[in-house]
Structure formats: C-alpha cells, structure tokens
Amino acid sequence: MVKPFEKAYFISKIAEAGRECARVYIGTEFCENLIPTLPALREWYAKVRSLRAAFTLVTPYVTDAGLDRLKPLLSFLDKQGSAEAVVNDWGVLTLLRDNYPHIEPVLGRLLTRQRRDPRMDQILDGSQQPVTLQAPDGGTPTVLMPKRPPRATAAHFRGSLINVPNFQKFLSGWGIRRIELDHLPWNMDVRLPPRLRASLYIPYAYMATTRMCGKISLSYAPCRKECKKYFLKLNEPHSPSPFYSIGNTVFYKQATPDDRKLKELGIDRLVIQPRFPF
C-alpha cells in the first residue's frame, strides 16, 4: 500500500487546521520577536493534541536573546517526548542537541539554501524577450538579446546544498532525518538518501528576509508588529508569481506539485500555509 502524504498545517489559529491535518506547525521562521511565550505554547500544545495531531515548533534565526526565549519552550516540549522542532539557525540546532534530546530536529528551509528567485524561470526555460536600451543622448538604442545559460548553470539552479552527500552525512550525524523545502517554479532536483525525508512548503516560498523590518516598513521602530496587520503585494512581470512583502520577509506563491512529482522528489509531507507564515 502506498503511504499517503502527511499533511501538516502551519497555522496561527487553531481553526485553520484542516480536517485531514496530521500535524500542526506553530511558531515562526523569520522573527525572534514572534517566538510564542511558554503559556501560549502550552495552550497550543494542548489544542493540537486534542485534535490528535502531532506537534512541530518552528524556530527562527536568532540572536542570543532569541536563544534565551526558546529555552523554556524547548524544555517544555522535551518533557512531552514527541515533538519536532524546525531549526533555521545552527545555534538552535546545537542548543537542541546539547539540552533537549527528546525533540526531533528538522532542518528548516532557511538552511537548505535553495536557489529560489522565481524570475530565474524565464531565463532557465529560454522565454526571455529581447531588451532595448535607449541611449541617454538619444542615439542608437542597444538591443540585448537573451542568452540561455549553460546546461550546468541550469542544473545548479535546480539543485541545492541538500544534494551534497557530505552534507547529508553531516545531517545524519546531527540526528536530522527531515529537511524542509520550498517548491521552486522550475523542475527542482532533490536527491536524498532513504534516511532523509523532505517536507514541501506550499503555497508560500520565501525569498529574502531581514532583521530590520523597521527599515522595510519605514517605521524605524524596533518592532511594531506591522506584520500582523499589513502586507505588500508586488506584481513582477518577469516572475510567475507576485511577490509578497510581509513583516521582515518576502515570499512568492507556488502551486502544489502533483503526487507523482512529490514522490519522485522524496517528499512525504506537505506543510500547508493557509496564510502567510506570520
């Protein structure tokens, strides 16, 4: 019998968990200011378990202050004995290994280093159009003709660090059995050994992040939690998807690949984001 894909929901409200939800992701990948408090985590944990779903805490990249905020949460989860933590910072991984042996570490999508910019799609599939550059002095314009990248370059963009055997071995040595991936607009190449499984985040793939959200929001304040209120959508004509800037991170949207493709890639979990993961 073919094992079905595990459906996990990355949610910020319990009502967002679908009926077929086998696992719930709680937390944040991008901002240490949004790390939940211990009482909030306890409440979440109880709600998720009442749905008979498994629990995954998502952790962001952090400063030392952020590491301190994570400690009580990890300590609580460690005592529960059956939780996962997605790590997006090497420091958090060492914290887990040194202190919380009962939590299953998962390598987050910020550390899998995929080539993500969706605007590469047109270049990789050769559908770029010529560009006419007007001369500043009104002279003869220059026409730039599209040039396809070499085959090796196209292959490079399909793959990532996770295909490097040495890195895969290293992950196993650190007790990592699962990695998190974004779905790329082009035919991505994932080559994992059987000991490593992969999750795919849909529909929002991340593209860039910053710790200076006050700069992006023009608020210049340390944190006003604008990410909870607003987002910016930019339609980029050269991208198959618009860009969404929310809080400190830029995303684009991707469709879910079909089951056959998912199996080919070794993906056995879909992480569904009903809304932006903030």
């Binding site: 400063t63 030392d64 040495n166 200076m212 992006i216």
Partner: protein, 369 residues
Amino acid sequence: MKRIKVFVPGKFTVQAPVNHPDDVAVLHAAGARELYCGYITPELAERWPVAFRILSQCGHGKEFENISIFENIVAKAKALSLPLYVCVSGQYTPEQYPFLQPLIDTIEAMDGVEGVIIADIGLLLMLRARGFKKKIQVSTNGAASNARGVDFLYTLGANRVVLDRQMTGAEIAKLLDRQRTTVEVDLPIIGEPCDGFIGGMCAMYHCIENKPSSGGGSNSMFCSVFNTTLPARGCDFYQVQGEVQRFSATDGSAAGTLVSDRAKAVSLGCRICDLYRLKKYPIRSLQVVDRNRGLDDIRRAVLVAASAVELMRMPDLSENAFRVRCRRLLSTVMFDDKSMCAEQDCYFSPYWKRHGKAVRKSIFHQQDR
C-alpha cells in the same frame, strides 16, 4: 571548551577587498592590514558564467579568472606582509565540487595566501574532510548571529567568523560575552552592499534584473523597492491592494500606486560608532565589505576604519567624543566635507529612536489623504 583570551583591547586590524595588483600598495598605505579577493578557475567560469556566480547576490563579481593576475596580487601582498584571503563564497551543488577541488588545491598551494573566505557549510565540511591547511574564514553570508552559531562553525573547522551585518552593537556584545571557543569573531564595516536583507538568507538574483521594467540599466536592485517605496496612504505601514507595478528606476517616478524616494532610503550605516562599545572584546579584524566598489571608495573606507581604530587607542576618550570624532572622520574622508555623516540615514542611529516618527511623517506627508 575553555576560551583563552590573549588580546590587546582596541587592537583591530582592517581587512579590505583588492581588485587589482596595483591596489595592494594603495590599500596598505591607507591602513589595511589584511586583504581579500576572489579567484575562479576558467573551468568553473565557463560552466557557471559570471552572471550566475553568486557574489553578494549580484552575480557580477570581482573574481580573477586569470591566474597570473591573481599570482601577482598574492606576491605583492606577501611582499608587504599582508595576509591575503581568497573568497570561495558561493553556495555550491554537487556538480560543482569536482571543479572546486582544483581551485582549492591551487589556493592551498600558494605561499602568500593566508586562507579562504567561504559561506557554504557543504564546502566547510569538504575543507575539513580533506584537511585544508590554511585558515578558514566564514563570510558574513554565513549569517552567524549568536554565540552558539559561531561556536558551531568553529567545531566544523572555521578559524574566523564574520558576523551577520544586521546585528546591533548590543547583540554583538552579548554574543561575544557568551562565545565559548577561540574562533575569531569579526565585524563587517563600511560599505554595506545590501541595505535591506540578510545576505546569507537572500535568494534574489540582481544579475537578472536588467529588464525593460527597470529601465534596462545595470542592476536595479529589486530589493530596494522594499526600502524606497511609499504607500499611497499614510498609514502605519504600507498596504497596497490590487495591481502594483514595478518601481521605475529610470526616472524615479511613480509606478502603479507606489512612488520611489531614493533620497529618503535609509542605509545600514558604516557601523564605526559601534566600535567603542566593542573595543574590550577580542575582535581582531574589521572587514571593509563590498568588493564591487572602486579603489578610491575602498581606500577611503579603509582610511576611516583605520583612523577609527587609532582613535580608540587614545586614553580618556569618551564614547560620545569618539562618536563625534568618527562622524567628522566620515564626513572628511568619505565625503570630502561636502556631506555630513547622515545620522538620520543610519538604521542603527539613535536618531531614529528620537525622531523616527516625525521623520516618517515628513516622508509620508505627500501621500497622506
């Protein structure tokens, strides 16, 4: 692991990028005491052309493909006793490793090369596995931002870690207080090439932005859209609904419901103000970042950094006096006294905490309804 501190307070060295053999002496005279540059073999360059080799996401890097120019730089740096680091700072896939091996072999065999600068954990593992004999510096694109992360890189073989550019002075101080290994922790300084996102976690490719919508000019830095756009409504944050076109780089005019105002864009700042607070820590090197600048720009940046280091050695200089002197230094050396250190343009400046709201209002007022 017990940490051993052997350090003279305030004794930083300045590490600068070098792009031409003739630049070595100029940068040395300006105060650089370490150099770094890029080198790539022709085989790598052929399969992964310049536009697709990711150097600070720009793809138009300053990497030498000519071995004789590279050797010339190495020889000149050695003659001046300047340790030289070579950037191999891409993110690599398995197909590239057979081509990286000879590159690493060449670098390792060169007498005047002190070490490599890398950003890829896979490459770090490879260097450790093959017993790489020179130093390994993890670039700011390694995105280390806490003590555990820094110590982790040490356990994988890094001798030096350059911190994430977006850390505040207080965060850096806390990291250094907690660091448990002897790995050198260094700071990127002056010349932030990206004023928006964390380099090591950014997947934007500026090399592909030479498009009609951006005027077809050279890299238009798509990410700066996020720093230089203003909302159609003067709200707390921008909320744009419906069709929003791309920012027009040609005339700075409105595109869709967005307008650009580059003059009001805020930079990451030079970070020299942070040095005073950090002078008691065992930071060894200040890395003048961005290889894509011209020699004169880099030389001035080195002068500012080296002069700030000298200032820190002055006894009885208060932090406030240090900041004032640094601001003057920046205005004089970087801007020929034609412009001041623009405190209000620096993200890390306390100016924003005092005046942010008022400034924001002045930026936004034309858009208010």
